[in-house]
Symmetry: C2
Subunit: 452 residues, 2 copies
Amino acid sequence: MTQKPSIPKGTRDFGPSEMAGRNYIFDTVKTVFRKYGYSPIETPAMENLSTLLGKYGEEGDKLLFKILNSGDAFKDIQQMPAAELSEAGSNALALKVCEKGLRYDLTVPFARFVVQHRNELTFPFKRYQIQPVWRADRPQKGRYREFYQCDVDVVGSDSLLYELEMVQIADEVFRNMDIRVRIKINNRKILSGLAEISGQSDKLTDITVAIDKIDKIGIDAVKAELAERGVLPESIARIEPVLTLAGTTEEKIAAMRHILEGSTTGMRGLDELEELFRLIREAGVAAETEFDLSLARGLNYYTGAIFEVKALDFSIGSICGGGRYDDLTGIFGLSDTSGVGISFGADRIYDVLAGLDKFPKEAVRGTEYLFANMGPATLPYILNAAARCRAAGHSCEIYPDPAKLRKQFEYADRKSIKYIVLAGEDEAATNELTIKDIIKGEQKRIKISEIF
Amino acid sequence: MTQKPSIPKGTRDFGPSEMAGRNYIFDTVKTVFRKYGYSPIETPAMENLSTLLGKYGEEGDKLLFKILNSGDAFKDIQQMPAAELSEAGSNALALKVCEKGLRYDLTVPFARFVVQHRNELTFPFKRYQIQPVWRADRPQKGRYREFYQCDVDVVGSDSLLYELEMVQIADEVFRNMDIRVRIKINNRKILSGLAEISGQSDKLTDITVAIDKIDKIGIDAVKAELAERGVLPESIARIEPVLTLAGTTEEKIAAMRHILEGSTTGMRGLDELEELFRLIREAGVAAETEFDLSLARGLNYYTGAIFEVKALDFSIGSICGGGRYDDLTGIFGLSDTSGVGISFGADRIYDVLAGLDKFPKEAVRGTEYLFANMGPATLPYILNAAARCRAAGHSCEIYPDPAKLRKQFEYADRKSIKYIVLAGEDEAATNELTIKDIIKGEQKRIKISEIF
């Protein structure tokens, strides 16, 4: 039986050229993570559903891929009274046949890992983790059902030096990739302070959404939208100075100190932010950094600093983001463990690098040398030369058959191989090789010992 | 609600020290694969069940992890007549609620990949693939439900140079790891020839199993076992010379030429084998290689060379194996595509390296430098020194708080950090650093510019 092969929707195959680009990204971030003392961990693709359920909201629970129990999975369902079965919801039935699910992100498995292994770990525990996650989202452009996350976190300390480290890591990663970025920074405590002084803490989301639109629609439209969203006129009046906040980070912080004077939490957030910007200056971070009050990602999750990185020369969503969280591990029984981390968006970074043509040629190039196959007579000579080539640290291939040279050259061309090595009986007799540089179109004959 | 965290049975977390060892293994094999012109690919964790089912035998089908459809998965089951539902087998019901499964190996997804992308690929297509696979096996010591496979294959050529490449790759990988190995080689055509001349082709498995036991139980016991397994006396007589086969690879091949004289297939297998051993000599393969007639792994799958690698100094099953297959992609509609490949057993290699204490110290060591935190006064100085340290290509951390030095030293010790850098106001005033080598117990004070 012949099948037309395909893969599940929302998933992808990565061929050699995509892998070269993706490995360049992963290798770059890993090198930086290691330089800052972060170590890799890996957790299983499958977690117990009890670990995952309830951690991502009701919508998230629905997006978990659940794994059918092995063995006699349907026993319970087969024994259900017919009326009960036909009434049952699919979530309830799923729990009767599934105990495991695929991980939805790397954060919850990390929290589970830290708690489960807390007696073996050294705190502050600095880890990075680069693994795929799975979400039963409706697939669409740029959204996949399987994608890699690339997280770096430290837990077990509330030192602001770690906020600095996250900024330094983002700076260094994108500098190494030659992507110009702006690192936007906010602090959840400042947003809480803002809600506090507005007198309408429940409208915090509406307020941040509105602030975010100032540049696009102007202050009057924003005020109208706030009113429409149920923010009272007196609240709008109290936060109006925020809406017109402008200037440098220092000026914005100074202005916010007046606005948030009445909120202890807000003032604490400003202290943290000011200290972080001081550390950023002292450490010599090269990227643009900016206090962005509208930054509110993961509002219910972060408790201190919030980060987001935008590419300056390519239009795409944020390519990196994260923040400080104070109780990630509480749900698994380890409380008061503060952490801070960021996550790099590999797919978007890939698009930026491809769009700006910034993938280094050497990172995506394949084999360096193709030894043409000139038939059995010189094969021993070529085998020896290829072994020397590899021993010298190069990559090379021998064409598998003594095919027409045109065919062998075509193979080299399609694989972007840089040099073709020709070694007939002539060359073999003099311990030489003829090396053709395909890019330059040059050809030279040289002693083996001079090249490999 | 507090949960006691755990992971599904048969799965594993890998912490920093295990990851260091595993990454050493993966990096070593990748480096060798690339040197021989193999490129990485990745396929999705989930495949359509239609791709996977029927490829691994009935037992394999049961061991597939199936993924519950998202949305209203149970509609069909809820509409089944009660009698039909209670009679249905769990496999039939599984197919009503699952369309996808987790990959069981990398071979079938690779075959699917080659056929699906055949118009974009350059043949011979040389790929490696290092990804986890999942099997609902009963977990036991050394057998996991999630484990990495590490495959290297070339498809689209029947050149014996690729058999040689597999032997060279295995040789170079284990040489680079300093593991002494024996590479055993056989050829499926020789086994077919043997079945042919025995007159009982259906007893091939029994015959190879028996041959394998010669060293352990002796020729008489093997003959008795063959008889017990239904091999006829005249067949036993015909293959008896095989049972006493001894000597060097050359001698064994010569002896087999007499035994298999009547079998065209068998003689072709011997030709291939002889040619491969000649190539192995010419290419200067360093590892011991040996013709092992009892090698019969994947009997129904391989069509030419069969490989297996055993560690000489550590008792464990084979740590690498593979062979030539002629119709891997036929099931997906692309026939006559011959390939050859081998697979490295990462978990067993890990055990060998750990057992022989062969993990290189630098591969498993963490951060190089810990900058002690001496308080806010010298923090700017330390931030600057740490930045220089990283710019010079080293890894370093700054301790997050100005804690007691004893605590900071303990942290360095637990993380196996090699150097502690002390920089108080004294050092800052003279642009120096005090560097303590923890292993040697030595300490020296040095100009920043002389070290970073």
